[in-house]
C-alpha cells in the first residue's frame, strides 16, 4: 500500500474517495476547500498512487519530472513535494505548464529534451529523491537510465511505460518486459502494475536506483 505524505489526502469527491493535493486548480478538477482532486483518469502517477502500488513518499522530496506536458500531474507533485524540476520538450504544452508554474513557488519549468540530460545538468541539482517519468518516446528505459545521474542512491523512480511508443505492433507485455529488463542497468524494480482501465497499454513501474 502506498504511504501518503501529509500533502496528499484521500477525500470524498462526487461520492467517491479520491486523491487530493492542496494548490491552485489547474485543469478544471473538482475542489473541496483548498484541496483539489487528483484525477487518476488523466494522470498516470495518480493512477499508480490510487491503485496502491509500493510507492514511498514522504513529502518535500526534490523531484525531477520528465514529460511534464501541460502540467496536469506535475502540478500535484509540486503541491506535495519540494523543489520540482519539470522537463518538457514541446513548446505548446509548455505554455500551459508556465501558467501552472506561475501559481507555485517550487516548480521550475525547463523546455528541454529528456533524452539529453547534459542540456539541463547545469540547472537541475544532484541527489534528488524522486524521478517521475512519463515520456511518449521510443527508448523510455534509456531515458530513465540516463537521468539516474540526478538521483541520490536508493532514490525512487516512478515510471509510466507506454507500450505503443516502443512498438505499436508488439504485444504490450513483451514490450514491458524488455523495458523493465533494460531498466535494471541502473535500477532495482520494486513493483509493476498495468494501469488499465484508466490508461490502456501502460505499465506503472516503481524502482529504486542501485
Amino acid at each position: 500500500m502506498t504511504d501518503l505524505p501529509d500533502g496528499i489526502q484521500r477525500r470524498e469527491f462526487d461520492g467517491r474517495t479520491r486523491l487530493a493535493t492542496r494548490g491552485e486548480p489547474v485543469y478544471g478538477e473538482p475542489t473541496d476547500g483548498e484541496w483539489r482532486c487528483w484525477d487518476a483518469g488523466r494522470s498516470k502517477l495518480g493512477a499508480m498512487l490510487e491503485s496502491g502500488m509500493d510507492i514511498d513518499l514522504t513529502g518535500d522530496e526534490g523531484v525531477l519530472y520528465l514529460g511534464a506536458a501541460s502540467g496536469t500531474t506535475v502540478s500535484h507533485v509540486a503541491d506535495f513535494a519540494g523543489p520540482t524540476y519539470a522537463v518538457e520538450f514541446a513548446p505548446r504544452p509548455m505554455g500551459d505548464l508556465l501558467d501552472v508554474a506561475e501559481a507555485r513557488n517550487n516548480l521550475f519549468p525547463l523546455l528541454k529534451d529528456a533524452r539529453k540530460p547534459e542540456t539541463y545538468s547545469h540547472v537541475v541539482e544532484s541527489d534528488l529523491d524522486l524521478l517521475v517519468q512519463d515520456v511518449a518516446t521510443r527508448g523510455q528505459a534509456s531515458v530513465a537510465v540516463d537521468n539516474a545521474r540526478f538521483l541520490a542512491d536508493d532514490s525512487q523512480l516512478l515510471l509510466a511505460i507506454k507500450a505503443r511508443s516502443e512498438d505499436v505492433t508488439a504485444d504490450p507485455e513483451t514490450v514491458f518486459d524488455s523495458v523493465c529488463d533494460e531498466l535494471t542497468e541502473a535500477y532495482e524494480i520494486i513493483d509493476r502494475q498495468r494501469l488499465e482501465p484508466s490508461h490502456d497499454d501502460h505499465l506503472g513501474v516503481v524502482a529504486r536506483k542501485r
Binding site: 485543469y27 483518469g41 488523466r42 506536458a69 501541460s70 523543489p83 520538450f89 514541446a90 513548446p91 505548446r92 504544452p93 509548455m94 505554455g95 500551459d96 505548464l97 508556465l98 508554474a101 506561475e102 513557488n105 517550487n106 516548480l107 521550475f108 519549468p109 525547463l110 523546455l111 547534459e118 542540456t119 539541463y120 545538468s121 547545469h122 540547472v123 537541475v124 541539482e125 544532484s126 541527489d127 511518449a136 518516446t137 521510443r138 545521474r149 540526478f150 511508443s165 505499436v168
Partner: protein
C-alpha cells in the same frame, strides 16, 4: 574557485541581477551537482530559498522566451521531417536497386533491396570498381539510418505537436496528414470528408470529372482500422476514422490537451462496424457507401 563543479552551474560568473535566460537555455554540464549550495558558496544567492526564488523566476522567463520563439513552428518541423523521411526512404530504395544491379557483376550472392546493400557495404573491396560499389552501398546504409532517425524524431515530436491526432493515427500518419494539409491549422479547418480522401487527390479529381468512382480513403488507408477492416466495410471505417481524426486535429490545434474520451468513442464505433462481418450482412452499402477503389 576551489570547487570545480561551480564552474559549470548556470549561475557561474553571474550576479543575481543579470539576465540569465540564455544561460538556462543554451548552457550545459556533464554532471549535475549540488547547485543550491554551490550558488550560496560563491555568493550568487544569500541562502537556498533565495537561490530557488531566482531559479524559479529565471526558468519561467527562459521557458517563456523559448516558447515564443518556437511556438507555431512545430507542425512545420513535423511536415519537413516526414517529407525528408519519405525522400530519404525513396532515394535509398532507388540507389539500392542500382547498387544491386552493379554489385551483381562483381560479387557473388548479392541480395536485392536495402538489406542487400547493407551486406555489400560490409565486403572487402579489392579493386577500384568494387571500391565504388562498396562506397555506394555505405551511402545507402547511411541514408537508411537517417530515414530511421527521422522516423524516431517524428514519433517523438508528433505526440507533442498533436497529442490526440498522434494517439489516434499513430505519429507517422499524423505527420503525413499534417504534411498533406500543409499544417495543423489547415488540417483543423478541413471538413471530415476532405480528410478522408487526403492523399487520394488523383482519384478524387478523376471522380469529379466523371471518370471514376469516389475514393473511399486516401492516406488513412494505412491505418489498421481501415486496412484491417473487410473491404465491404472499409468505406464506413474510413468515414468514421476521418470524422474522429478531424475532431482530434481541431482539439490539438485549438486546445492542445489530451482527451481520452474521443479515442474510446472511435474504438466503440469501430467495434460496431466490424461486428457487421460477424452478423453476416452485405457490408458497407447498407448505410449508403459507394463502392470503388482509392
Amino acid at each position: 574557485m576551489s570547487d570545480q563543479s561551480t564552474d559549470t552551474g548556470w549561475f557561474a560568473g553571474r550576479t543575481a541581477d543579470d539576465d540569465h535566460r540564455a544561460a538556462i537555455r543554451t548552457g550545459s554540464a556533464d554532471a549535475p551537482a549540488d547547485w543550491p549550495t554551490a550558488a550560496v558558496d560563491v555568493g550568487f544567492a544569500a541562502d537556498n530559498d533565495d537561490y530557488y526564488a531566482t531559479l524559479r523566476e529565471t526558468t519561467i522567463e527562459a521557458a517563456r522566451e523559448a516558447v515564443t520563439e518556437r511556438e507555431g513552428a512545430d507542425d512545420q518541423q513535423l511536415l519537413h521531417a516526414v517529407r525528408a523521411m519519405d525522400d530519404a526512404t525513396r532515394t535509398a530504395n532507388e540507389l539500392a536497386e542500382r547498387c544491386h544491379e552493379w554489385a551483381a557483376t562483381q560479387f557473388d550472392d548479392v541480395d536485392s533491396g536495402i538489406e542487400g546493400a547493407r551486406d555489400v557495404a560490409t565486403r572487402e573491396s579489392t579493386d577500384p570498381v568494387e571500391e565504388r560499389i562498396v562506397s555506394l552501398a555505405e551511402r545507402i546504409d547511411d541514408l537508411t539510418t537517417e530515414a530511421d532517425e527521422l522516423r524516431s524524431f517524428i514519433e517523438r515530436l508528433a505526440p507533442e505537436v498533436a497529442p490526440n491526432l498522434a494517439e489516434m493515427a499513430g505519429s507517422v500518419l499524423a505527420a503525413r496528414l499534417i504534411s498533406l494539409a500543409g499544417g495543423l491549422d489547415s488540417l483543423a479547418k478541413k471538413p471530415s470528408g476532405t480528410v478522408q480522401v487526403l492523399g487520394a487527390e488523383d482519384a478524387l479529381f478523376a471522380h469529379l470529372a466523371g471518370r471514376g468512382p469516389s475514393p473511399k480513403h486516401g492516406i488513412i488507408y494505412t491505418h489498421p482500422y481501415v486496412n484491417g477492416t473487410r473491404p465491404e466495410d472499409r468505406g464506413s471505417a474510413a468515414r468514421a476514422l476521418a470524422g474522429k481524426l478531424t475532431i482530434a486535429a481541431r482539439i490539438d490545434h485549438y486546445s492542445g490537451d489530451f482527451r481520452p474520451e474521443i479515442h474510446d468513442e472511435l474504438d466503440d464505433r469501430m467495434a460496431t462496424i466490424r461486428a457487421r462481418a460477424d452478423d453476416g450482412d452485405g457490408g458497407g452499402n447498407v448505410d449508403g457507401d459507394t463502392e470503388g477503389s482509392q
